[in-house]
């Protein structure tokens, strides 16, 4: 099974590729076609640094069916060193150790299985450092 919806996101999810506006320098993850700051359409591709800190988080205790076997699991909004913010699971830790302000590093992990054939979908998760 080929899932275009998954494959076309690979540069972002596997390699953390962001779009940097050539005109105003704003950084977008995932990349965009139009800069929402200055409306320019010219971008260069940059790879984000994989370290950052937790701005806010929660422990999901009731999840959607697809993730229900993983509960409880932590999800947070992480700000990377470059300034970009993203939503990610926070893993490999006791849930009580997670705090706002904790330093994290993004790692490459399986996120979920998609569709009836169970396509393995990968991406980033955060671990405490």
């Amino acid at each position: 099974m080929i899932s275009p919806r998954y494959f076309r996101e690979i540069p972002q999810r596997y390699r953390l590729e962001a779009g940097k506006c050539k005109k105003c320098g704003a950084l977008f993850f995932p990349p965009r076609i139009v800069c929402s700051k200055c409306k320019s359409k010219e971008f260069e591709t940059v790879k984000l640094q994989d370290e950052g800190k937790i701005l806010t988080y929660t422990i999901i205790r009731v999840g959607p069916d697809k993730f229900s076997k993983e509960t409880p699991y932590a999800v947070g909004i992480v700000q990377l060193v470059d300034g970009v913010k993203l939503t990610t699971q926070i893993v490999d830790t006791d849930l009580e150790k997670i705090k706002i302000g904790s330093k994290v590093k993004l790692v490459f992990r399986k996120i979920q299985d998609e569709g009836k054939w169970g396509l393995h979908c990968y991406g980033y998760k955060a671990v405490l450092i």
């Binding site: 806010t56 999901i60 009731v62 959607p64 699991y73 999800v75 909004i77 939503t87 979920q112």
Partner: protein
């Protein structure tokens, strides 16, 4: 542009309506609204629904409803803006009447959420599928992250969140259409099951079925058909980034601030002039943040306002006299219209046990997703 008035309302009870289909509940609410308005026809209609395709597998819901209401061939459209779909339906109807294009327009909202779909997954489609939901985040999870940020930034407490639920259940106990007419104690809320920390089951609005409809017409015509028209004095809408993580702040909802600024400008009012408001309390933290962003309380003071009773029925500004989404129920597409109905009932002295004395000006604030859409309407008794 013409002045526009609401002249009739109709809604079903909100709750688990097992014996009724999505068509049945919408048609019942629509017929009640038409009868209440005492009109012999409608010129067009808007149906707000968030995810009828996911919840019951039926799209093209505008045509389905016009057909089953016996109203073909009038123009009919389904409008969608997640949980703000009802608000958008109202605004579209308002604009159509104000522009002079139509005289009598029905604005409705409906959702059937208990027919068996994965509700958590369906609701999550209102967030960023590729960069939020992909990671396993849920709607309670997104609002929980707003709550944790608010607690971290302003010292808001779990108990303050719980006060919102206690108040709204108390109000809802007086609403015959509410899903839950039971009151809850602070202790019950604080001990209820965690859904997404710090939000507990009793911080969350329920899964509901229900429909709500109103009829709008030009104010001049309204005066001929009813002696209690309610004038729409502001209709505003704004948007924000779809993903919560893309925002500068997680504790301020820019769509609410922008829509509020427009609504206050249109009506030449300040927040102090709003006597009461129905706000989008899909989660207790939402009510706290929204009451701040509407300008009712200083930023960071929304939790304390709930705790000290400023938003209670007897308080400085009663919030969610209907019981809100928390207690009245939250059939997502119907919510925006049901809020308008509560404001209308208050302004026409029909709110029974929960009637506010001398109610002249009220607001309805309806929100989609984690605040990526916001609709604000201000109504005035004339």
């Amino acid at each position: 542009m013409r002045d526009v008035a609401v002249i009739g309302i109709g809604m079903t009870k909100f709750g688990e309506l097992w014996t009724m289909s999505i068509r049945d509940i919408f048609v019942q609410a629509a017929l009640d609204a038409i009868q209440d308005a005492k009109v012999d026809h409608i010129d067009s209609m808007y149906v707000g629904t968030m995810s009828s395709g996911l919840f019951v597998g039926q799209e093209h819901i505008g045509a389905v409803m016009a057909d089953y209401l016996g109203m073909t061939p009038i123009p009919t459209s389904r409008v969608e803006s997640a949980c703000a779909s009802g608000g958008v339906a109202f605004r579209q109807a308002y604009l159509e009447v104000a522009s002079g294009h139509s005289d009598f327009v029905l604005a409705g909202g409906v959702e059937k959420m208990t027919d068996g779909a994965d509700v958590t997954e369906s609701l999550a489609t209102a967030a960023d599928q590729e960069y939020e939901v992909y990671q396993g985040v849920t709607f309670p999870g997104l609002y929980a992250m707003i709550a944790n940020a608010h607690m971290h930034e302003y010292g808001t407490t779990g108990e303050q969140l719980a006060h919102v639920s206690v108040k709204n259940h108390k109000n809802g106990s007086k609403n015959p259409n509410a899903q839950f007419r039971s009151q809850v104690t602070l202790e019950q809320v604080m001990k209820s099951t965690l859904v997404a920390d710090p939000l507990r089951l009793l911080d969350c609005s329920p899964v509901s079925d229900g429909a709500a409809c109103v009829i709008l017409c030009p104010l001049e015509m309204a005066k001929k058909v009813t002696n209690k028209p309610v004038k729409v004095i502001a209709s505003a809408q704004a948007s924000d980034t779809i993903a919560l993580h893309s925002r500068d702040s997680f504790t301020t909802l820019n769509s609410v601030k922008h829509a509020a600024a427009k609504a206050y400008k249109q009506s030449s009012l300040t927040p102090e002039k709003i006597q009461f408001a129905e706000v989008h309390d899909c989660f207790s933290i939402a009510e706290i943040v929204v009451t701040e962003d509407l300008g009712f309380f200083e930023k960071g003071k929304g939790g304390a306002a709930a705790e000290t009773g400023l938003t209670s029925f007897e308080g400085k500004i009663p919030i969610n006299t209907s019981g809100g989404l928390k207690s009245k129920g939250h059939p997502v597409g119907a919510t925006g219209i049901a809020q308008i109905i509560e404001v209308y009932e208050q302004l026409t002295n029909q709110a029974g046990e929960r009637q506010i004395k001398n109610a002249k000006i009220g607001m309805a604030q309806n929100m989609g997703g984690s605040g990526a859409s916001c609709l604000i309407h201000i109504l005035e008794a004339v």
